[in-house]
């Protein structure tokens, strides 16, 4: 009989630990380390890049259940290419028409894991008023305890390629500007 409480305590402890681990954790995107960069080929010569500077969102991850949910909103007017004329043209109604479509959204609800690490997030991207399925593939994924924030931070690098024509963004397609746009996503999110 003496052993029972100890065993119960052990089971309870395991149970508690398990419960703590299984509990879904919510993370808020850390805007200083979350950026979406696009890459598009320029006349088969070099690659043009641009970055969206304003964004917000949350991620929920349940590592035990291997599920998650990601909701991100990008301010499309915060596009920054380093070339004022190019940025202006991208904002115009010929391309992203950011006056009419000031945000882009990604909602991911199918998370794939390898062990504790997220390897893929599948969901829907809404851009230029059109929605298509997109899968973000992790190049890096890691969690760490931030010495500054004193909180857990998870994040990594994700990539995907979209076809801009599927979003009704066809400018220059007839003079050879590529349909494929490569997206490179840096993301870090702070545990709440």
């Amino acid at each position: 009989m003496k052993k029972m409480p100890a065993l119960l305590a052990a089971v309870a402890a395991l149970g508690l630990a398990g419960a703590a681990f299984a509990e879904p954790a919510t993370y808020t995107l850390e805007p200083n380390h979350t950026f979406v960069t696009f890459e598009i080929g320029h006349f088969n010569t070099s690659t043009n890049r641009g970055r969206f500077d304003k964004k917000e969102g949350t991620v929920t991850i349940d590592r035990a259940a291997k599920t998650g949910k990601l909701d991100v909103t990008l301010d499309t007017t915060s596009l920054n290419t380093g070339v004022a004329q190019f940025t202006k043209h991208l904002n115009s109604d010929e391309i992203l028409d950011t006056a009419k479509f000031p945000t882009a959204e990604f909602h991911g609800d199918k998370f794939t894991f390898s062990g504790d690490k997220v390897t893929e997030i599948a969901g829907n991207l809404t851009l230029h008023g059109k929605t298509n399925p997109v899968t973000l593939k992790a190049v890096n994924f890691n969690c760490y305890n931030s010495p500054l924030l004193k909180k857990e931070v998870c994040g990594g690098d994700f990539e995907t390629t979209i076809q801009r024509g599927q979003y009704g963004v066809n400018y220059g397609a007839n003079y050879g500007f590529p349909d494929n746009v490569h997206l490179i996503i840096q993301v870090e999110a702070i545990k709440q």
Binding site: S46, N80, N140
Partner: protein, 213 residues
């Protein structure tokens, strides 16, 4: 050239390094120059002015072993001389490091401080390369030279991931360019603030296009 990590942090030192490297590079390039004049009828050296709309350096560092932090520097002005027949090249770039743009103003300001890019003392970095490698079609595959940051010089190789030339219909001139990548260790230039939380390894991704003069 002194490749020490001694920080003089002066523009004079950087320029002295640049001059030394250039003269050494020119001496090494003499046989190629002779070959280029022999084949001048077929090709000959062409000077390309870098296109400010399509010439940027992006650096990448790893943040807490987790995500990749990027910053953009540029546009990079200057000229590149290439002889695609003689397979030689010459570039001397002045890189305006104060243009650094990460999308975070606080980080941009921090990067300009004396222990990182040291912009006040060293407003420009330099890349001087006279050692070019070409493929069979005369496309640049690699440019090897010296990178001078914060007045400290270290060898740097930029490898072409993509290179091509075209006749630009609007400009009615030949445009050559591509995407190049290189790697350096920032600590060797004395810019090790934030290590190891932010990596010593810096990956460079360079977009470049040049318009034939």
């Amino acid at each position: 050239m002194k490749r020490s990590s001694s920080k003089t942090g002066s523009v004079a030192h950087a320029l002295a390094c640049a001059t030394l490297s250039t003269s050494a590079g020119l001496a090494g390039a003499q046989p190629q120059a002779a070959a280029s004049s022999a084949s001048a009828a077929a090709g000959g050296p062409v000077v390309y002015r870098l296109d400010p709309d399509h010439t940027f350096v992006t650096f990448e560092v790893r943040h807490f072993g987790t995500s990749t932090l990027r910053g953009r520097i540029g546009p990079v002005p200057g000229e590149v001389q290439i002889d695609r027949v003689a397979r030689s090249g010459d570039l001397r770039l002045r890189i305006p490091v104060g243009t650094v743009d990460t999308g975070m103003r606080v980080l941009d300001a921090r990067l300009k401080e004396p222990d990182l890019l040291s912009v006040a003392a060293n407003p420009e970095a330099y890349f001087i390369a006279t050692n070019f490698r070409f493929d069979a079609q005369g496309n640049v595959q690699e440019a090897r030279g010296e990178f001078i940051l914060r007045g400290v010089s270290e060898p740097l190789s930029l490898i072409a991931r993509r290179f091509g030339c075209r006749i630009d219909e609007r400009l009615r001139r030949e445009v050559c360019g591509g995407d190049f990548e290189g790697d350096l260790k920032r600590g060797r230039f004395g810019a090790s603030y934030g290590e190891p939380f932010v990596s010593d390894d810096v990956h460079l991704v360079v977009q470049v296009e040049g318009i034939a003069r």
